[in-house]
Symmetry: D2
Subunit: 386 residues, 4 copies
């Protein structure tokens, strides 16, 4: 079975990686990767280099990420990607396309698979999060994809609710968890050196905040209240701050500009961190603040308290480690105090049940793929669409 994986951004590649690795090491599969989007952007850390290092065979590089902050960026970008991907899929003639999530790559892959009559497997469907332009895209992809790997039982059930046939759905859990489990421990001293911030003698929190499309006009004030809160909390408690720059969506430039105003010896931001560094940073942080999906989907594995600011991620399955607060400095500081210093609260989080699986998702996914009979027409035509 020849599989073409499509990936466009670091965060989504991290989820895909354990699956790709498992496919690469299985002689029943031939794997190639289409690298697009932010992976090809210098500003976003040229993460294609990570994919090359990981040793995957690259089928094509497809530029589509436009250098603008207007809403046209993602819309036109999907069009450019579909044009290029069609060319790749015709040449490579794969048996299956695979992708993760809800971004430009996702819908482009589904559309190309649909018209080119190639099976499409989707990791991460059935998630009812709302408020961002990504969210309806995810559901739209579920109606086009032929095979669904859900990251939680509830999400697998959601896929059935919207009419997907049972035999197409597997509750695999979140493949990204395997990255975390497999990552070797790095000492706080080494981390401090690498990051050029002293987190050996000092505790720290992590900040990761993206723009949200339905509120893009408020981006500036939203990130400002987070940064104000974080700075005050850091000053008062002598706690360091480690941040990651946002994704490439419209509004990201405003966030970067605002973040840069707050950078200091105690508040450091990074374009991208190598996975092993990042995982170790997450293992030792007091809390995560912002609106990254990681707070919902991966933080439970770390038993990590999360303050989710604003409406992004609303609707998602909360393992119990997430508190939702408004874009308001005082509320954020209050939540940070609870997350970092309230012993009882922190103890409860240590006991949570992770609904996103046990880190073996990649193995379950590949086993499922191995059993697919490519000659069985049931996979290609959905006779039941509702």
């Amino acid at each position: 079975m020849k599989i073409l994986a499509v990936t466009g951004i670091r965060s989504e590649y991290d989820i895909l990686f354990p699956v790709l690795n498992e496919l690469e090491n299985n002689k029943n599969f031939e794997l190639k990767v289409v690298v697009t989007g932010a992976h090809l952007s210098y500003t976003h850390g040229l993460t294609i280099n990570k994919i090359i290092e990981d040793g995957f065979n690259i089928a094509d590089r497809i530029d589509y990420l436009l250098m603008t902050n207007r809403k046209t960026q993602r819309s036109k970008g999907v069009g450019i990607l579909i044009e290029g991907l069609t060319q790749t899929v015709e040449r490579e003639d794969p048996n299956m396309l695979i992708f993760v999530g809800d971004r430009e790559e996702s819908i482009a892959t589904c559309i190309v698979g649909n018209y080119m009559n190639v099976l499409v497997a989707h990791i991460g469907g059935g998630d009812p999060v709302y408020g961002n332009a990504d969210d309806p895209i995810r559901l739209s992809c579920s109606k086009l994809a032929h095979i669904h790997f859900a990251t939680a039982k509830e999400y697998a059930n959601n896929l059935k609710k919207i009419g997907e046939e049972k035999f197409r759905i597997l509750n695999s859990g979140n493949p990204a968890l395997n990255n975390i489990i497999k990552t070797k421990k790095i000492s706080a001293k080494k981390l401090s050196n690498f990051l050029n911030i002293d987190i050996y003698n000092s505790q720290y929190i992590v900040v990761l905040q993206h723009p949200i499309s339905s509120e893009v006009e408020d981006t500036n004030t939203q990130i400002q209240s987070t940064m104000e809160a974080v700075k005050e909390f850091s000053d008062i408690n002598k706690i360091k701050v480690i941040g990651i720059y946002p994704n490439s969506d419209p509004g990201s430039y405003e966030i970067i500009d605002k973040i840069n105003e707050y950078k200091s010896d105690d508040i450091k931001f990074y374009k991208n961190l190598p996975r092993e560094i990042f995982v170790n940073v997450m293992r030792n942080t007091l809390a995560l603040v912002g609106n990254s999906s990681m707070g919902i989907l991966e933080a439970p594995l770390y038993k990590l308290p999360v303050i989710n600011v604003g409406n992004r991620q609303k609707g998602r399955l909360n393992a119990g480690n997430v508190v939702f607060v408004e874009h308001n400095k005082i509320d954020i500081i209050k939540a940070l105090n609870q997350a970092c210093f309230d012993r009882k609260y922190r103890n409860n989080i240590q006991k949570l049940q992770n609904p996103y699986g046990d880190g073996s998702a990649h193995k379950k996914i590949v086993k499922f793929l191995e059993k697919i009979d490519l000659n069985n027409p049931k996979w290609y035509i959905k006779k039941k669409l509702i």
Copy 2:
């Protein structure tokens, strides 16, 4: 309220037309039309000229239809259209996009609306037909569109089943019915003259068969069995045949080539017929054979027996006038005999209930649109996606 309608092919424009006409004549709306796809193709009869005649303001002409018969045609075409439509939507800055159905225009409009944060209204969602590349696209559009005008009660219910909120859904019925109702009668003599075939002294059947994407490799043998059956039926019974060439999808060239082999004084095919001619042709035909959606969606209004050949249209609501047969000459002839000459069968069809409304869909749709409060955020963000 400024509305931008997107249309790409004659068959879908016919459904859209009564709605556009109603909007154009209502001073609460400003309407422009984006003309794309087969409308701009000489081969498909340059139906943009009909839109110009109808008097609508054209926002942009966007070419995307590629001159190939490969599967890449529709896939790459969607990408090209999204690029162009993004440019149009930014410039025109409409309050709403409106479209019909399940084709390239449909998914392109939904994607652009989603990322550009513009409301999208979809006519024709909730229809569970399967087997063609269009069909999952229709469902995918439903998860992205903000407002749904279903053509039947069952379809409106289907939209709720896949998670769409009730307040977004209206069972309007099929707007195209109004075209039929409003069309003046033309005498058989005049029709004969116009069509250059004698249907004044002779009865006739109508043929309309498109390729189906999931069986595109069999296109040639499929159209051959239809044409063989039709020819034999015509020869034996001295019945004329009026046909329309297929749409622009991959496989259409093979169909045209095969059709051309069978053309004769008794079997005539046309690129496109003016609406008033076509409606009168349908009013007087003994039966319709092929796989056009019209057999399901419009033929009930004519109380017309339909022989649907093959898998296209399977899954759709059958008003009782449709018989499904395989791609087999003998079966088709048998069904034609029943449809044309079995008095009891024909009488039963005269009594059917049309599930697709009473021809007032356009009025219901515009009334619904008038009541929408564009400042209410509920329309823009689907808080319930499943």
Copy 3:
């Protein structure tokens, strides 16, 4: 040296073929072909199949030919092609791009080569023909290409006149002539059978007329006067007519429609003829009428009288076999009479000197390419542009 050839239409591929064949059989070169444009169009005879039969390695298929007859067709087409070709060139990473002529493929290849810093070799520059949208494109390509293979001495000199450095230019002659020389003779009987027209007992002329962009509004009347003339000449003299359908440019549909009105047992038109058939048809025809470049560039090898109708091909080097006439029935018939029946005129043409070489162009070109030192920066940067 890895070479990527770019081809988009049968007429231009015929010129390229001997060069590709020579490269394929030379172990110093690795060759791949990018197939685009009309080669991928069913309407134009799917000539990609010929390229596959010829045994070349296809790097990518890139659709760009839009199904419209508007001027947007070629303009937007170039853009779509550049997008796709950039992707191919980055992946294949060739040392050189090679192409023929003056069409969409030509300018797209030059632009991609320029920005991707890959050498570009152009076959057919320096030709001062004017009146068609292709013509300034040809010159524009000459300013971007790094290596020039001219088809005549005068054209090589023209390249120097517009500022190209001498070391970049070779007067190779026209590679297409080799196809003609190498083609085996086929008897008139066999030709008659293949073509389904009796050219064994009857003489014939050949018609090949394309639209011209600067006069596209007059396409209809232009082809009509040619067809009227040809029909009358055929009727009076009992001479058969063999025609080829036009290329894909705007206006081509009008030409096809008009041609179809004149088709009869004595006047046959073909979408495409296999090369060996076509060459034998040309060997035995009394004359060629229309406006194909073949009348100028290849007919001298056949010592064939040509009637060039209208302004297309004006400015080109006339070997002495071409008469230019207006779009006027009487003038065309007069010229046909001279070309077919004036013995003295026909004898003079037998004595002409062919300025387009001796059929060894492909060998000269490959020898030139073999000597290029890819590490010498002189090839990449034109220090003298004027």
Copy 4:
């Protein structure tokens, strides 16, 4: 006469502006502007806002600038732009397209004009500068454009040399000079405040260095030697440094990163400066260092010594104010010492003759355009191409 101007970057818009302003104020012309490229990029200062402030009617915004530093950026970018611009030109149906220079916008405008049969006017042709991917593009545009406004007599002659007809060419001079002449004086104190650097009590030099495509691999070491030289020169002589970030070409990110390492209280860089600030900065600087075309084309008006580092701008007409040096710290410092402190050298520059006109180019251009008879076919078809 309806004119559509196409602009993509601040530097080129500055040249275009006086012409647009003159057209806007002339009732014989209807003007619209297509805004593309870096104008739409937040990173490049969203200079579309300047165009809006200047009061021009915007026909369309066309994104094409890809967020990558690979060579694909400009190549694919041209394709995307051509697609969008074709749509705009069909809708607007202008009589003429106008553009400046040698960038993606330039070649895209020429191609669209050629195939859409719309006149194209080019400002800045005939310049034999070499070494950058832009340079052959400029010449390529000259062969496609119908009307040429050269910025110097020698350049006008060059256009004739490459075969352009005399009646199409006007030596207008450089329109940008008018911006400089018209700009009001701003005091050093106010400039210091605005720029947040003290250039009231201290002298300063200006740095403006772009990547060069034929040496893009050396970008990092090239900018480093400039920055090292500038820093040392600044330290030793207590002279401030004002810099502008580079354009959007591949290599620009490396330049920005390197520049950022050298920023200090004495060395300040700006994304973009308002025109009136920039002109006043240029009026008072001791010298300009880098490789901007401004050093060649505009600095003569300021009688300003220029150190051009490296091969960019080579081949251009030097008014006598430019010294070319290698990418070598010591050579740059030596040249800076001469430029800033060698009184005799500086006196000679005061006496130079400006070959780029007297600042009235915009008036000459508009007068030329007014006299064009749009019905005369000579403008549309170049009967003499060589």
